[in-house]
């Protein structure tokens, strides 16, 4: 076996000086690869566990239900940021999810192939635009000469969310069997009825996956909000989106830079709230994804 490998004509395998060395090299690489994988998982666990260890002791009812305390006062919480984040995410999703899914329907059902390709490409590029640039853009369009506001923040988030929702929706709509269309057409149904009655219900699981992934992604977005919704009153509740809305990511950002251990504790607690939200959404999205994929595929 070894000799045949050494003499085979196309040079696919370099002639090995000895089986022992080749096996040793192989083993080394295998061990290195295993270590690399272990390392990556370890880093994830390290981050998650430090958030848990630091965040859990800091979390209490006050933290979740109270507003921040005045400078130098002990106690206080992050409830205004939790509420503000919820509002920002809700508005952003109300914009991004419908527009994203409609875009996906356009590319899979109506658009000519070239336009469809162009839109998909543009969405991929949009997905790659740094979110700080999105923040500068929304600042330039909505904040300059106006004011920071929850609306501006939410619209910035929706720009980040849109390509994620749209691409995920496209992917799953592409998987809906053409035979379902043909069956609909054979029954004399118009395109729009086929889309609403057959395609969308079939793809529902996948559409939800995309929406949930989009929400998970923007829940932690900090950079766009820093430029569009970061000036707020610490002591009072704001739920009015025409003012800047407090939010968890910017709160973590400013607390993280503070020298005070009490602020760090609050930052960890806020991080725990955020990471649980994001990781649970990601796992849920994945579960939906697997289910709808296996159903659609076969």
């Amino acid at each position: 076996m070894e000799s045949s490998a050494a003499t085979q004509p196309h040079g696919l395998l370099t002639p090995a000086p000895g089986a022992g060395r080749r096996k040793a090299v192989n083993k080394t690489v295998e061990v290195l690869c295993t270590i690399a994988a272990a390392l990556a998982v370890a880093v994830l666990l390290l981050v998650v566990i430090s958030v848990l260890l630091k965040g859990l002791p800091a979390i209490n009812l006050d933290l979740l239900t109270k507003n921040p305390a005045a400078f130098g006062q002990p106690g206080g919480g992050i409830s205004n940021s939790i509420v503000g984040s919820a509002i920002l995410i809700a508005i952003a999703s109300l914009i991004a999810i419908p527009v994203g899914i409609l875009t996906a329907i356009y590319t899979t059902e109506f658009a000519p192939a070239r336009i469809s390709f162009g839109i998909k490409f543009a969405l991929d590029i949009l997905n790659g635009v740094p979110t700080i640039v999105t923040g500068v853009f929304i600042f330039g369009v909505l904040v300059v000469g106006g004011t920071q506001s929850g609306w501006a923040g939410a619209i910035a988030l929706s720009v980040v969310e849109l390509p994620i929702v749209a691409r995920a929706a496209q992917e799953v709509l592409d998987l809906v069997p053409r035979s379902l269309h043909e069956a609909g057409l054979a029954l004399g149904l118009k395109r729009w009825r086929i889309v609403l009655r057959i395609v969308l219900p079939t793809a529902l699981g996948g559409l939800i996956t995309g929406a949930v992934l989009g929400v998970a992604r923007v829940a932690g977005e900090t950079a766009p909000l820093l430029l569009t919704s970061s000036i707020w009153s610490n002591l009072s509740y704001t739920t009015n989106p025409s003012q800047a809305l407090p939010n968890i990511p910017v709160t973590i950002f400013s607390l993280s830079e503070s020298p005070s251990p009490a602020d760090h504790a609050k930052a960890w607690a806020a991080a725990l709230v955020l990471i649980l939200f994001v990781l649970i959404l990601s796992v849920v999205a994945r579960a939906f994804h697997e289910r709808s994929r296996s159903r659609l595929r076969g």
Partner: protein
């Protein structure tokens, strides 16, 4: 055919047709508008940045990109130092992330027992879901003291003769930012590399084994060459992510406008500079220069993303 179905519907016929007459174009127009909006946003972003960076462009021209002075007192601005910081921190990140990602992908596609392949892959990908501000917080509290007190003194004692590891260790600086960016780009590069590996034709692998190759020889001679364009695409995509990361980098890089060879020294990046100075820049050339920074960043991310998509796509088609 359609006539018979219609007549069978009887009294609903008119309603159904009326609904068809409205519903069909309505859905079409609605979806078309959404499609146009999605593309228009991208154009609008570029247009806004170009427009609003005009004062800085006319003041500093293209030389802005390479100029390393950033002095609000004298109203002289240049992106050079930040461009340097962005490129160096991202390249170091990918230098560490790429081999690691390839190793993980090899483990996940070739070595790992079948039962743990999916869970491990999911765990690695979940790393990408951690918000960057949390990674930055972790970087400030855990990573920076470790770097300042242990890793950097260690590197200095062994490799201190290299300019890269000279100077005094510092908890905030280029190395810290690069490591955080490594953690951020790792899952992206891993996910794509793994996908590409999985598409290696089984016959080729079996052929290599049949010729007596060890697993590593098979990977080196069959899997890697086939996957190369895909891996390059993945790395470039990771680079795009690293270029644009603003928050976590701001938290750990030390935010100094300087070009230093030593990786221990504080530095700045395009994105971090925008985070630091944008909220309080006075309108005029100052603010416009920061928007110009954003434009430079946008152009970089466009180039990188287009290149990566073309590479990854070509791989899929070919």
């Amino acid at each position: 055919m359609s006539v018979t179905t219609a007549s069978r519907r009887g009294p609903f016929d008119i309603h159904a047709r009326l609904a068809d007459r409205i519903g069909q174009p309505a859905l079409r127009i609605l979806t078309t508008l959404a499609g146009i909006a999605s593309v228009a946003v991208l154009v609008w972003i570029a247009e806004t940045l170009v427009n609003q960076s005009r004062p800085a462009m006319s003041a500093f021209g293209l030389g802005f990109v390479g100029h390393t002075t950033w002095n609000p007192v004298k109203s002289t601005f240049g992106a050079g130092a930040f461009l340097y910081g962005t490129l160096v921190s991202s390249f170091i990140a990918l230098l560490i992330a790429t081999p690691t990602a390839i190793a993980i992908a090899i483990y996940l596609t070739e070595l790992a027992p079948r039962v743990i392949r999916r869970p491990v892959a999911i765990l690695v990908e979940l790393l990408a879901a951690i918000p960057s501000v949390i990674l930055g917080l972790w970087g400030i509290i855990f990573l920076s003291p470790f770097l300042g007190n242990h890793l950097e003194p260690f590197l200095k004692s062994f490799l201190g003769w290299l300019p890269l590891f000279s100077g005094s260790p510092s908890p905030y600086g280029m190395l810290n930012a690069a490591l955080i960016l490594t953690i951020m780009t790792l899952p992206i590069v891993t996910a794509i590399t793994r996908e590409v590996f999985q598409t290696t034709p089984g016959e080729l692998k079996e052929a290599a084994y049949a010729l007596g190759a060890t697993r590593w020889e098979m990977i080196r001679k069959v899997v890697l060459p086939v996957a190369r364009p895909g891996i390059v695409g993945a790395v470039i995509l990771g680079l795009g992510r690293a270029f644009g990361e603003a928050i976590a980098v701001t938290q750990v890089i030390g935010n100094a406008n300087q070009v230093k060879a030593s990786l221990f020294q504080p530095a700045g990046t395009l994105a971090a500079q925008i985070v630091n100075e944008f909220p309080n820049a006075s309108p005029g050339v100052y603010q416009s220069s920061l928007i110009y920074l954003a434009l430079v960043l946008l152009v970089m991310s466009l180039i990188v993303n287009i290149a990566a998509r073309v590479l990854v796509r070509r791989r899929k088609v070919g």
